[in-house]
């Protein structure tokens, strides 16, 4: 399941992860540490919603 940032629209794709932010490809959104931030706008994990 992909997750979209409600602040800037950036999409978290588990297949790609966020290598710059220390999130390996294949990491499920639920498994990302709570203090992780959106790489584009710095929003927190709770600012993300499942993509429809």
């Amino acid at each position: 399941m992909k997750y979209v940032c409600t602040i800037c629209g950036w999409v978290y794709d588990p297949a790609e992860g966020d290598p710059d932010g220390g999130i390996a490809p294949g990491t499920k959104f639920e498994d990302i540490p709570e203090d992780w931030e959106c790489p584009v706008c710095g929003a927190g994990k709770d600012d993300f919603e499942p993509e429809e």
Binding site: T6, I7, C8, V40, C41, G42, A43, D47
Partner: protein, 401 residues
């Protein structure tokens, strides 16, 4: 305009754009705007932001009163958008700066605006400081206020905070300070600016304001990149206003916007407005033909309810409504009550489509959705009036909380 010394050795070198009426191609700026930039004279000579490209000659002329471009050592780029970095390429060429300071996201994006590979770009970490002689400049990331790259620059010795787009207003004036003009007028322009530019990032605004409150910075001047600057007590006023805007607390007010061909939808909207007014709600009734989408947004912003109307046109809604709705929805106003009405001739999709917009805007939808075939008769108009009364009750329940 000539430079204005705002602190000893710190100069406003902005440009007043008296004729700007359409800010960045989407928001109305009926009172023009300004692009504020600053020059700091210390052991290092520093330029903080520039102006839009079209104002380059005025900017260079203003700077020439103070220094020669080649004397400038550092350029601070608080924001890459072309209204602030429009002269950056020219300035880099003329100044040959030792360093160009940008935020982390600025560093990631600068090469998409400029051929900057040979520029001395220095990416600052949040909170990083640089000494420029007697003074220090400290940089704070303020992502999404309103682009990913925005940052604030703070000078502790002068208690100065350069805030880029935050706290800005579209006002062209000979005055430079909020305390030289009517505070209500300024607050109104701050709100228009916020409504049209910052609304979608309100949760980031709250977090940023909380972070700054925690930092306990000593600030006695807030210098945004558009409009008038705040000094003394007005700094607290700027911060309070932003917190108020970010919370988006609705007023006892409804905005009704609509388009119409033969006035049927207009009459329905008018009846809903009467119902609202009869219950003591303040209304703004706005035809999309008479009002620009950004003025509609400025009213929607502090309204508790939006009522929208359009006739059915080619199995859809009128294009003026699509324009206004695209714009308003894009700014993601929160927590509104919504209702829709419209007239039709045969297929009658209008109200269903309007309702989908309201749903996408996350509105609490009030029923019934009223449709009238060709002309609303007396009973339909009574129903519309009653809808206004129902919405009024919902507004009162909401604002009472």
């Amino acid at each position: 305009m000539r430079p204005v010394e705002i602190k000893e050795g710190v100069h406003w070198i902005g440009v007043v754009d008296w004729n700007c009426r359409n800010f960045h191609g989407y928001a109305r700026s009926a009172n023009g705007t300004t692009y504020n930039a600053f020059y700091i004279e210390d052991e290092k000579k520093v330029l903080v932001d520039t102006v839009s490209k079209g104002s380059e000659s005025q900017f260079l002329c203003s700077l020439a009163h103070l220094t020669k471009p080649e004397e400038i050592d550092y350029i601070v780029v608080n924001h890459l958008e072309p209204d602030h970095a429009g002269c950056l390429e020219k300035m880099v060429e003329l100044c040959k700066p030792e360093k160009i300071f940008v935020s982390v996201m600025g560093g990631k994006n600068i090469a998409t605006f400029f051929d900057s590979k040979d520029w001395p770009v220095h990416v600052v970490k949040p909170g990083e400081e640089v000494s420029i002689g007697k003074r220090t400049l400290r940089f704070y990331e303020t992502r999404m206020l309103h682009w990913p790259d925005n940052m604030f620059t703070y000078c502790p010795e002068d208690k100065l905070l350069f805030t880029s787009d935050a706290f800005g207003q579209n006002i062209a004036a000979s005055e430079r300070w909020v305390d030289e003009m009517s505070k209500e007028m300024v607050a109104d322009h701050m709100q228009q600016y916020y409504a049209n530019i910052i609304t979608p990032y309100s949760s980031k605004v709250i977090k940023t304001l909380e972070t700054f409150a925690g930092l306990n910075l000593d600030v006695d001047m807030i210098c945004p990149d558009h409009g008038l600057m705040f000094r003394g007590d007005d700094c607290a006023f700027a911060l309070e206003k932003y917190m108020e805007f970010a919370k988006q607390e609705p007023k006892n007010k409804a905005t009704l916007f609509y388009d119409t061909m033969w006035s049927s939808t207009e009459r329905m909207i008018s009846a809903v407005a009467s119902g609202l007014v009869s219950e003591g709600i303040s209304v703004k009734v706005m035809s999309v033909k008479a009002n620009h989408h950004s003025d509609i947004m400025s009213e929607v912003f502090d309204s508790a309810a939006v009522v929208i109307g359009s006739p059915t046109h080619n199995n859809g809604i009128l294009p003026g409504m699509a324009d206004a709705l695209t714009y308003v929805k894009g700014l993601r106003p929160q927590g509104k009550i919504g209702a829709a009405v419209g007239s039709f001739g045969w297929s009658g999709e209008c109200v269903k489509i309007l309702n989908e917009w309201l749903e996408k805007m996350g509105c609490d939808i009030i029923e019934p959705q009223i449709k009238a075939k060709n002309r609303p008769n007396h009973d339909t108009l009574k129903e519309c009036f009653q809808l206004g009364v129902t919405i009024a009750a919902a507004i009162k329940a909401k604002t009472a909380k």
